[in-house]
């Protein structure tokens, strides 16, 4: 087709120039160096929001701990657990379920810190107003979901899947009672948007995300309402790998704890981080708090 080899040379040259010229090796991709403290988090919200949140947190931790701190974003819950297991990530923000999964795979990993709200965490069931599902007080009201379309968040989400499914089964609602198969939206934000748009009549998500989005005016409450708030359970927490003390010196875990505990809502810079986390302050936590989650996860088959 081409009449001369010149065309090919030109194409090859063009392609290489494009590749070479427009980018020095991309600065956007942080290279994990041996000396950096790498943190990550389950991607339970809008990725863009997470980048902002953990960017700020990384800067704060860097100043507090005196080491390089890198935030590594990932696409799904399982990937965080895995990165934590392989040691690509030193400390991660897990949900109840992923935290248990992670600790089962990394011996000696410790749950250290959580938000004030996490020791009394709730999920909310929401419904599109056009569905006609009315708010209720008692768990038995969940039977109203029978014959309705319903979406969870991520498969591995504690507040968006595990606990809602647990409470549904307590109320005698099996997944097969729903209309069609349940959806797995992937994140709490997407659950709100799907129910608001009417793609699903009802859904379940993390109460803190719901409150934050309502407060920010991002939810059209004439279209989507809360129908039930679950009882409290333990959820999100930071888990740190046992080998960080070899990497950064003895007492490093205590330093990390201190950095979180000294976040003070009275300090405007700190308040920004706390607000992004939806918390007043951080508190200490321990592995034992999650025994209950582990039992439920085994019942539902998310832990073998």
């Amino acid at each position: 087709m081409f009449r001369s080899s010149k065309t090919y040379w030109a194409l090859a040259l063009f392609a290489s120039v494009v590749l070479a010229a427009c980018t020095a090796p991309p600065a956007a991709r942080p290279q994990a160096s041996a000396s950096a403290f790498v943190i990550s988090a389950i991607p339970d919200q809008d990725p863009e929001r997470l980048n902002r949140l953990y960017g700020k947190l990384s800067d704060y931790l860097k100043a507090q701990l005196g080491v390089e701190v890198i935030y590594k974003p990932v696409t799904d819950y399982g990937a965080v657990v895995n990165a934590f297991r392989t040691g690509d990530v030193d400390m991660a923000w897990f949900g109840g379920l992923t935290g248990v999964q992670a600790r089962l795979q990394v011996e000696g990993a410790q749950a250290i810190i959580q938000r004030d709200i996490d020791e009394n965490f709730h999920s909310v069931f929401i419904a599109n107003t056009a569905s006609g599902i009315q708010p209720f007080e008692d768990i038995s009201g969940l039977t109203a979901l029978k014959g309705r379309t319903f979406t969870f968040g991520s498969e591995s989400s504690t507040s968006g899947r595990l606990m809602p499914q647990f409470f549904m089964s307590q109320a005698g609602v099996a997944l097969s009672d729903l209309k069609g198969e349940p959806g797995f939206s992937g994140s709490h934000d997407k659950t709100i948007k799907l129910v608001e748009a009417g793609a699903y009549e009802a859904g379940a998500l993390n109460e803190q995300v719901w409150k934050a989005r309502v407060a920010a005016g991002e939810v059209d409450t004439s279209k989507v309402i809360v129908i039930w708030r679950t009882p409290a359970y333990y959820d999100y927490h930071w888990i740190v790998r046992p080998d960080v003390e070899q990497k950064f010196g003895a007492g490093f875990i205590e330093q990390v704890k201190k950095a979180f505990l000294s976040l003070d809502a009275a300090n405007p810079a700190h308040k920004e981080i706390l607000d992004l986390f939806g918390a007043q302050k951080f508190i200490e936590t321990k592995n034992e708090n999650y025994a209950n989650i582990e039992t439920i996860a085994r019942q539902i088959g998310k832990i073998k």
Binding site: Y8, A20, T23, D46, T149
Partner: protein
């Protein structure tokens, strides 16, 4: 369904004279029809509660956003970087696959072993070992390789390159060995007989004649590599697929359109370039390489020899420039391969994977889901085949360049490009807005994606087909619709069907990645098992997938032989 098909066909071909192959074709047609009906029932086409009417609002928003793609400088830069990452993965993976493919292809070719040990019986030679070693890596989808490798190697671009390179390498090895075996051997024999050592005899006697076909095929693989690199992005490797997924998960449709436009340009350019190069090298169609039919006539090939050798030189230069650039751009860390940590994680995982979970309960689930998965692949390919044939005719370059013909041609081509450039998992996520989770949305997604691929392949076949029968009918005053039906369609139908059966194998493999976004079948189970770290369950599911893939391979081969 067609499981009853294999044996009768073989006996038919063996016992009846060649003429009755027509019966074979009829049998295939009948079985295919039955299979389609069965698949439609299986994917739940006739069950209630299919369409989720509530989702139309989101679909409207999605298409409305096409008019206002995100064009801020920051986002355009991000799009450019994502595009380059995807391209670099494709190049890096392809380079690796060519190394594996060349070595594996040589070792698994009959001609190599025959040249080395002319007296030995073929079956007793290491040939069998080489062939066998390539079977499993080929049957496992890139995305599954990716998910496994990431668990062993951690988050590193190396994962994407290996995940592409290994299965692609095994596929390439198979095709390379077929090309080598089908290349005329007179020159090789002459050299061997005059006492030239086998390796050197191959180098001078066989390789030069096989090279254009080897290169054409490699270039065809580049198209596939771009598509697969995008899919790997969707499962988290970065690049365009990753960004599209993020935008879709945040329901930022305007960003999505910008990213999809970049994907269209990248995909479109590669397809175009690849088609041109294959033409210049005189090996125009995919199937001719794959099915090993006689390569374009020797005379034509020789006529193209001059332009061909220039093309080769250009390609070589491009490869030499692009490959190091690609590796430099994504910066994989090969030291991870040999780190003790990696070995430990691999050992850990293997221990958890075996023995596979073959408990009766799990086996039953697997069988049910296997039927569902098979149905998804049949339904998808039926959809893709039907609409692929219909769209291929407007999408074939018209003989007369009237404005209207060119307009239809442009629209049809653009539509096909759009269908195939968007990865199947992304189609699935879009379709999930309006159809409930389950096998149907998955089958539709694979169908739409493969429609784009098949439509283009068949359009190429139409372009290369003999135009005289249609013209003769038209000149005799037959209306053009009928002229097409009696003069055009029969000329291309056998080849189209062969393509369709060939793509069916791909549809089968793709059911897995559809499952990753929640759209039914064994892939859905695999996702749940991976997120529960249930590795013994994962192994069982993989075994089931391998069995299905091989079954479909055999059926597709039998059917292709029957209609040839």
């Amino acid at each position: 369904m067609s499981s009853s098909l294999g044996t009768p066909l073989v006996t038919l071909q063996a016992t009846l004279p060649w003429r009755s192959v027509l019966n074979g074709a009829r049998l295939v047609a009948f079985a295919a029809l039955l299979a389609f009906v069965w698949s439609a029932v299986q994917v739940g086409l006739f069950r209630g509660d299919l369409v989720n009417a509530g989702g139309w609002a989101l679909v409207q928003q999605f298409f409305a956003a096409a008019l206002r793609p995100e064009l801020s400088t920051d986002f355009l830069l991000l799009t450019l970087e994502a595009t380059l990452v995807t391209f670099a993965y494709a190049i890096g993976g392809l380079a690796l696959s060519l190394v594996i493919g060349s070595l594996g292809g040589l070792l698994s070719s009959e001609v190599w072993w025959q040249a080395r040990r002319p007296k030995a019986r073929l079956l007793s030679s290491p040939w069998l070992i080489a062939r066998g070693a390539l079977v499993v890596p080929r049957a496992i989808h890139e995305a599954i390789w990716g998910l496994f490798l990431v668990r062993i190697l951690g988050l590193d671009p190396l994962v994407a390159i290996l995940a592409l390179g290994i299965p692609f390498g095994a596929i390439t090895a198979k095709v390379f060995s077929e090309i080598l075996d089908e290349t005329p051997r007179d020159a090789l024999r002459a050299l061997l007989n005059s006492g030239v050592p086998p390796a050197r005899a191959m180098l001078y006697g066989l390789l030069p004649r096989a090279l254009p076909n080897l290169i054409s095929y490699s270039f065809y693989r580049l198209e596939c590599a771009i598509r697969s690199a995008t899919v790997l992005g969707v499962i988290g490797a970065g690049g365009l697929g990753y960004q599209i997924l993020l935008s879709l998960q945040s329901l930022r449709y305007q960003e999505m359109w910008t990213l999809m436009a970049a994907l269209l340009v990248l995909s479109g350019l590669t397809d175009w370039l690849s088609a041109r190069i294959r033409q210049a090298l005189g090996a125009p169609t995919r199937l001719e390489l794959n099915a090993g039919a006689d390569c374009a006539s020797e005379a034509a090939a020789r006529a193209r020899a001059t332009s061909g050798s220039r093309t080769l030189l250009g390609l070589l230069a491009a490869a030499l420039v692009l490959t190091p650039l690609a590796f430099w751009y994504v910066q994989p860390d090969p030291s991870r391969l040999f780190a003790p940590h990696t070995t430990m994680l691999l050992g850990d995982m293997l221990r958890q994977m075996f023995p596979p979970d073959l408990s009766p309960a799990n086996a039953l689930t697997l069988l049910n889901l296997a039927a569902q998965t098979l149905a998804m692949s049949v339904f998808a390919i039926a959809l893709a085949g039907l609409f692929g044939i219909l769209l291929a005719y407007p999408a074939a370059r018209p003989a007369r360049h009237t404005r209207r013909a060119m307009f239809t041609y442009g629209i049809a081509r653009a539509f096909l490009l759009f269908c195939r450039a968007i990865p199947a998992p992304v189609w699935a996520l879009l379709i999930l807005f309006i159809i409930f989770p389950g096998p149907l949305p998955g089958a539709l997604a694979i169908g739409v994606h493969n429609l784009g691929i098949l439509g283009r392949l068949i359009a190429e076949a139409v372009e290369n087909a003999d135009k005289r029968p249609v013209r003769a009918l038209q000149h005799a005053g037959v209306p053009s619709a009928q002229a097409f039906l009696y003069g055009g369609l029969p000329m291309t139908l056998p080849q189209s069907l062969a393509y369709i059966f060939y793509r069916w194998e791909n549809c089968m493999r793709e059911t897995v990645i559809i499952g990753f976004v929640g759209a039914g079948g064994l892939g859905r189970l695999l996702t749940e098992q991976l997120s529960s770290f249930d590795y013994s369950g994962v192994t069982a599911t993989l075994i089931m997938l391998l069995i299905l893939t091989f079954a479909v391979d055999v059926l597709s081969n039998t059917a292709r032989r029957a209609i040839r």
